[in-house]
Amino acid sequence: MVLYSRNRLDDTFAALSDATRRGVLLQLGRGNASITELADKFHMSRTGINKHVGILEQTGLVKTEKIGRVRTCMLGSCRLDSEAVWIERYKETWDRRFDALEMVVQELKQKKKDK
């Protein structure tokens, strides 16, 4: 695959347009992993996963370190968003979640009343 790097954002979006690569990011968010571990996790060959990791590495989303024969993958320094933006998104998620919780509690209240 040839990556035309017009700018970093294009590369980042291209890197994120693949479900496996998003899965790899999610996995690395939970802890570092070797190529072999990622290949097992995603039921892929080492060559296949290497290609995905390579694409993520080009964007700075992931970095790798080779120690002996093991290549360890970890999250890179490229951040998708600033912390403030993330906190705002996180808050939206909890807000919607609390709204739904409120509805469940109202249903329970109604049920108790009907009894």
């Binding site: 994120l16 479900a19 999610l26 968010g29 109202q106």
Partner: protein
């Protein structure tokens, strides 16, 4: 009137979300500890994610396991209940990142005049762990990262 949700990064390792729920703590607690009820609200309907299964053995030392699906990609979240005090306090570990990387979630329920103040406190093992959670958007026992990325990509498609 809708109550406000507050979220604050309280320290390098702590994230706190809170909200007043209109209902007694007993019912709010029940909604967090009965898997059938929990399934109804943990994943908001607007999220492009489904909670495929939810097993919860809600007692001190009991385990839980949540399986999510987002666009064909599945993610598992699991851990242990460290403390279960009916109607007032729930503590669980999030073990999917490994025991050393576990973060601890403490939820308290405080009833005031028929309403309940719910405080969700997430303690990460290190500053780096919380920074990384922020970087990937994965936090709160839900693959929010996937949601966030799906959103980013959907927006890009609309450009």
């Amino acid at each position: 009137m809708k109550n406000q949700t507050n979220v604050e990064r309280k320290s390098d390792r702590e994230l706190v979300s809170s909200r007043i729920i209109n209902g007694p703590s007993r019912l709010v607690f029940e909604s967090w500890t009965n898997s059938e009820l929990f399934k109804k609200w943990w994943v908001p309907k607007s999220a492009p994610i489904t909670l495929v299964s939810c097993e919860m053995d809600v007692r001190t030392g009991g385990k839980y396991r949540l399986v999510f699906n987002a666009g064909g990609q599945s993610a598992e979240f699991f851990g242990k209940y460290l403390e279960v005090t009916p109607y007032s306090r729930l503590v669980w570990s999030n073990d999917e990142g490994g025991v050393d990387a576990a973060n601890i979630t403490t939820v308290t329920f405080e009833e005031v005049n028929g309403t309940t103040l719910v405080i969700v406190h997430d303690l990460y093992p290190s500053k780096e762990a919380l920074d990384d959670a922020i970087a990937t958007g994965s936090s709160g026992a839900m693959p929010e990262q996937l949601e966030q990325l799906e959103e980013l990509i959907a927006n890009q498609r609309n450009l």
